[in-house]
Symmetry: C2
Subunit: 355 residues, 2 copies
């Protein structure tokens, strides 16, 4: 078994280093190989996703990913910007199924913007389609408009699209995930406006016939954005397309108040997966040793469970994280009066010790 | 001066009736004419936006709109569904500038999901472009895919697009609105993924040169969805395209906890406007006399200010609403211990009395 380790930019290197220490202490039969990605790869090789990195990723069973991006790359041509690395990995490895749990840890209820009673015990699984939709649809570009409000004017455009098999496979993933949980799926669309999402709704309804034991609810994306704020605990599995999933999964993780705790997994049809924290590269705190490594450590646990068939090792990591939280260790992002403020390294130490 | 009164479906008729009473008591020189729209128009005339209604709207200086929609129309062909009426009015009248304030009323701080300190004093103005983007972009439809992940499969697609003049005019609206407020604009895009929104960002940056006194910040839509939850008071004018605006304006209004209080205005280049509450038709409580009419009454105030050049009358309505809140009147949606629960009609009575 082989793991590609891609720390990336900003706090990526610091947090991935702790996850690697945790993996090493488990003494499992796999090999890790590190490569550059994002801005770091651009600096070293002139491209955010060099062939060497992509080939390593393809040849691995799993990818442990940190984060990419920094404001200093904002003026680069789009194909050279750090985030193209993550889009490229999703595309070239076919990582169509993104799992983003939005969980509120008991000890961290106070960190949420929401009132404790609305958020305590929250446990939503967001499943986002990750290789289709307007993210990759062609054609796209700039041109002179030939119709619309201002024919003759310069315009830019993109294509939103979903095919039947794309919707079917992610719907199966969502219904199967729901079977292991509360058997309730909310499919989020904008069928009242978009052809793509009327089709989404139709296909999801068809696929649902094979899962009569799972309850299916359809919800418009604007309403979902509201219901997440109003009554987040009403959701169990929330599943949607790439664009809406980008927005709603970030909204949901911020609701928990502890986005620094939330892992994610992106899987392809072969079970290969990319595992990364839900938060970004946070260039403002990079190099300061204060970033929270727990989302990355928990991503490593997801990796052991989903791609490396090591569920017990995954359990060990997750229990260790719970115990360091119970013991009061907190990085600054989740710190509150009466708990012990620690840095990235000390948090990693605490998890290693707990294992 | 002429006002088209379009109550629509669900609670629409009840809440618009109260706004009309409030307008009548002001004894101003305008005429009101009522017409059916949405499901009600479909029942009566076989179309959600019959020509008679559209012509009345076109011939009026302003439209007072209730709400449209009911689950019972969900199975109709898309062009006959109630929401096509609102999309049609936006399109045919060119109502490109949507104003949606997200305000937290002092007396209603407790109704929010968010902790009081995060929400007290909140006053965001969301400006959403309303006639472009993927809502109206052509081509759209279903077809057989010729490329992508599954060539040969059935697919559905839509076109996202914005032309330079479309972006320019809404950017001017946003910067001018900011000049009357805190001179701070957040333009929300997804320039890291979409051609349309890279163009949006470029054009907004150019238009900004004419407003050196206004501060401009660019933010990705996923980040905006998070920051609204984390620190909503950091926003002042938030402006964005049609699709992102649909999602973020609903998220923001739900943050306030009192969406039943929030008006909206949709204006065209001539100053004609459609005024409607930010909430929907709420078929579950329709006909029960419990809906909150204040968002509609406040929409009528916006109408007086923006389209009918009656700013003092607008002030009178807004002061009356503040005083009924201060006096403790509450419809069920905003009721809390120690305040007086009233119905739609009594709330209208209270506002009329306060005027
Ligand atoms: C960096 C960006 C392209 C990416 C996305 O939009 O998918 C990110 O926001 C995410 O959610 O992983
Ligand atoms: C009813 C629907 C078409 C509409 C929209 O998506 O614009 C509504 O959600 C709104 O925000 O006014």
């Amino acid at each position: 078994m082989k793991i590609a380790v891609l720390p990336g930019d900003g706090i990526g290197t610091e947090i991935v280093a702790e996850a690697v220490r945790v993996l090493n202490v488990l003494d499992l039969p796999f090999e890790m190989e590190e490569a550059k990605v994002g801005g770091a790869a651009y600096e070293a090789h002139g491209h955010p996703l060099p062939d060497s990195t992509l080939n390593l990723a393809k040849a691995s069973d799993a990818i442990l990913f940190g984060a990419v991006g920094d404001w200093k790359y904002d003026t680069l041509d789009r194909p050279l910007r750090p985030e193209q690395a993550i889009l490229g990995l999703r595309k070239h490895l076919g990582l169509f199924a993104n799992f983003r749990p939005a969980i509120c840890y008991e000890e961290l209820v106070g960190a949420s913007s929401l009132k404790p009673e609305l958020i305590a015990g929250l446990d939503i699984l967001i499943i986002r389609e990750l290789t289709g939709d307007i993210y990759f649809g062609q054609p796209r570009g700039r041109r002179i408009a030939t119709d619309g409000h201002f024919p003759g004017a310069e315009e830019a455009f993109d294509t939103m699209r979903y095919s039947r098999p794309e919707i079917e496979r992610i719907a199966h993933v969502a219904f199967q995930a729901a079977r292991k949980r509360s058997k309730k799926v909310t499919s989020v669309d904008k069928a009242n406006v978009l052809e793509t999402f009327q089709f989404w709704k139709d296909v999801v309804t068809e696929v649902h016939k094979a899962y009569p034991d799972v309850e299916l609810e359809h919800m418009y994306v604007d309403n979902a954005a509201m219901q997440l704020v109003k009554a987040p605990k009403k959701f169990d599995v929330l599943f949607t397309g790439n664009m809406f999933g980008d927005i709603l999964s970030d909204e949901a993780s911020m609701l928990t108040g502890s986005i620094g705790m939330l892992p994610s997994a992106s899987l392809n049809a072969k079970g290969q997966g990319l595992y990364e924290p839900s938060h970004g590269s946070a260039p403002d705190i990079a190099g300061k040793g204060v970033a929270n490594p727990l989302a990355t450590i928990l991503s490593a646990a997801m990796m052991l469970r989903f791609s490396l068939q090591q569920p017990e090792a995954a359990d060990r990591i997750e229990s260790a994280v719970k115990s360091v939280l119970a013991a009061g260790y907190r990085t600054p992002d989740i710190w509150s009066e009466g708990t012990q403020k620690v840095g990235t390294r000390e948090m990693g130490d605490a998890v290693v010790a707990a294992i």
